[in-house]
């Protein structure tokens, strides 16, 4: 397989230096990298899993709104970013792998290369501010 374009590589290099969970996907949402802080959310290291198909990792977090109602995928920031090549941010609840309901904020942005080519997206998880 050919190497990723440098805009993707540089996003990974940055993610490896951050203490917040960062997920990087290709254009259809396959998880191509996540950093060490993100391993807590996924429960496995990137070394163990390697790349994760979109249908596998998108069902892990069980996103919910404040009334514990499941949020449909099309309302999630990363899904919207992948669809529209536009950044999004949302605060919601997820069920972590430890079974705990956690309030989180998610920021996602598209990776648009120098030649205006859409290469994928980055999702950053934050602990919600009011926690």
């Amino acid at each position: 397989m050919p190497a990723y374009e440098i805009e993707i590589i540089l996003n990974r290099q940055l993610a490896e230096c951050l203490s917040i969970p960062v997920f990087i996907t290709d254009t259809i949402g396959n998880l191509i990298f996540y950093n060490e802080p993100a391993e807590d959310l996924l429960g496995k290291s990137f070394n163990e899993t390697g790349e994760v198909p979109v249908e596998v990792w998108s069902t892990i977090f069980e996103p919910m709104d404040e009334s514990s109602k499941r949020i449909p995928p099309e309302d999630l920031p990363l899904v919207k970013t992948l669809k529209e090549c536009y950044p999004y941010h949302k605060t919601f609840w997820i069920k972590s792998l430890r079974g705990k309901i956690e309030k989180i904020s998610l920021t996602s942005y598209p990776i648009i290369a120098r030649e205006n080519k859409f290469l994928g997206a980055v999702a950053i998880f934050w602990k919600a501010k009011d926690e």
């Binding site: 050919p2 190497a3 374009e5 440098i6 590589i9 990974r12 490896e16 120098r114």
Partner: protein
């Protein structure tokens, strides 16, 4: 394919008795096959082109990896620019902001240079490229963005029987843990893969690199690792640091030779070197 190294020094011309063996001129290499000749970068080494008889020349192509001064400073003194009607093609990296003409014009205009780009008598054609594939005469060329500050390309020139990859400024190990040991995640891998000759940045010792991360260059260890990952046949280590004398470069080379476990051949690029590929 014939390769002439005319400038292998990084950053600033550094000619003098202490650098006369490896050379002090900045980046410039001539690659020829049949009746096609391509100049790679226009550092001060491009002066050597001016010694060539260009009476019968119809066209000349210059491929610029990027527009840092040590890669364009020779342009103003490039003889073909001043030959009326001669086709001069400059190929350089596209930017998201200004076009190639306006970026080159920052240097080729007063007060830095007395002649404006638009006043050159040659027939100047500018080509903006990125992750591109194109043909010049006998060469099929691939360009690809690589990690270095500002838009910067590496080139792979494929001749009839052999390939030459040119990445004079490159920091594939940028990041907390250095180069990622997976080809998919290595900047420049696609154009370097299995090259007959790889010409690559190796500006720093490992110790120097530790205090210069993010400056856009490679340590000797990293260039060796990069070449091994890409499975090249031969490596030329270039973009020598201007502070490194011949004696220091000799010692640095001896050290990597001593510790070498790789199978490909490698050497320090030396100004004036001529290489032949079948």
């Amino acid at each position: 394919m014939k390769i002439n190294l005319w400038g292998v020094r990084g950053s600033i011309p550094t000619t003098g008795p202490d650098t006369s063996f490896y050379g002090g001129q900045t980046s410039c290499t001539l690659v020829s096959e049949g009746d096609t000749s391509i100049v790679l970068d226009a550092g001060s080494g491009i002066q050597r082109f001016n010694g060539i008889d260009i009476t019968d020349l119809k066209r000349v192509d210059v491929l610029l990896t990027h527009l840092h001064m040590d890669h364009i400073q020779g342009l103003g003194f490039f003889k073909p620019f001043f030959v009326p009607g001669l086709e001069v093609h400059i190929w350089g990296p596209a930017s998201t902001t200004h076009n190639l003409r306006s970026r080159l014009g920052r240097y080729l205009s007063p007060p830095l240079f007395p002649v404006l780009l638009r006043d050159l008598p040659c027939k100047l054609k500018l080509h903006e490229i990125g992750n591109s594939e194109f043909t010049i005469g006998n060469f099929k060329i691939k360009s690809e963005y690589v990690i270095h500050p500002g838009p910067t390309l590496g080139f792979r020139l494929q001749g009839q029987n052999s390939s030459f990859t040119y990445i004079p400024d490159h920091e594939p190990a940028l990041g907390r843990n250095g180069m990622i040991p997976d080809a998919k995640w290595i900047s420049g891998f696609n154009i370097a893969s299995s090259a007959d000759i790889l010409y690559h940045d190796g500006q720093y010792s490992v110790e120097e690199y530790n205090s210069k991360k993010g400056w856009g260059h490679s340590s000797l260890d990293d260039v060796m690792l990069f070449a091994a990952s890409a499975k090249v046949k031969r490596l030329l280590i270039a973009h020598h640091d201007p502070s490194h004398s011949d004696s220091q470069l000799g010692k640095m080379f001896a050290a990597i030779k001593r510790n070498n476990t790789y199978k490909f051949s490698f050497e320090m690029a030396k100004e004036g070197m001529e290489l032949d590929l079948p």
